[in-house]
Amino acid sequence: MTFEEAQAELEQIVHRLETGEAPLDEALKLWERGEELYRFCKERLDAAEGKIEELASRAEAARP
């Protein structure tokens, strides 16, 4: 799953919950799924460590 997909699904779930259309047990399932998606997105943003590499030096480093 990409970040985009996760974010889009999360926002869809929020919309569905906010319109109050979902019956209770579905609402609870949606909420659980939403929390899961939120954690996934948050981790994608938190885990990445910024990095700037030069292709030339990479190629050199790759040489034995």
């Binding site: 990409t2 779930i13 919950l17 609402a27 609870l28 909420w31 943003l45 885990a47 030339a56």
Partner: protein, 382 residues
Amino acid sequence: MKVEATAYGDRKVYSVGAFNRGVASWLARLPTVWVEGEVTELRRSARWASVFFTLKDPQDGSCLGVSMPRGQFDGLRLELADGDRVHAYGRPELFEARGEFRLRALSLERFGLGDHLAALERLKKKLAAEGLFAAERKRPLPLLPRRIGLVTGNDAAAKRDVLTVVTTRFPPANVLVAETYVQGPRAAGAVVEALRALCREGVDVVVVARGGGSFEDLLPFSDERLVRAIAACPVPVVSAVGHEQDTPLCDLAADVRASTPSVAGRLVVPDLTQLLERLDRSRSGLERGTRRSLERERQRLDRAHERLRRAPRQLVERGRARLDQTAGRLRALSPQATLERGYAIVRAHDAIVRSAHGLETGERVEVELAEGGFGARVEDTR
């Protein structure tokens, strides 16, 4: 010219000199034409009668040796540099002493601005007809690129602009930079190679950035090979070449065109702060929405409970109402109402007397009135 051959039995054999002379005379019959190419390997010496250089086809790299009388060449004062594009007017010739084929140039013209513009326009039409610039070919950029490829010159400005914006907006960005020539005859090929190398390394979007420059400086970015490579790039490409008013063909083939390198930086990464805010809003929405669903269910339950609680009393009330109604009807049917109108009920032996027949004189009867009653004796019967 008659070329003499020696006969060895039935085999005709030419000397090298005679062969070369023969081919040379054949070539000399070809017409004088214009040939276009890029000048390389220019060799000029005051000791030589001719100036030599190689014309190279920028498309497929084909080469053609050219010689030109030195006096004529010097007279043109072209000050040619490697990679300059020219039109050479001449005819093919064979340098007999070495058996080398080349173009004998009589005149040489620098490929001027007008020629460049006309060539660019032709190329643009051709590529447009192939659909290379079509809107439906444009791919969306990934919202959150795992790794960004950056093709740029070692001129600090464009590179710095892209990197500054990218790392400011999105600190976790991962950028792979390929420095390359962005000017001169080697630029187009070098940029194509850099694009390929970045894709091999695995990037999910590429930015091609180059600061402003003269029309000629930016020409490599309209080179057919480069434009095709951008269109064929397996991941989306953002082109940020030159200034707003320049439109090199690579801009048209790219998926997104950025007016400056900074704009390209803004396009390839999201704003982390905004992204986090949006995510947090979603999460609050998640809680709010769930709570709202719960609240609605609770209210529905409460309403059901209330109705349940009221049900027995309602049942009793409904029973009572029905009873009252029945009682009313009952009363309407009772003899009381009849008695009120002045009738009386006569009973004898606990039975209602409907006929005088069977009554005996002196017999006691009970008379019931609307109010009270009395006992009586039968005086006579009729």
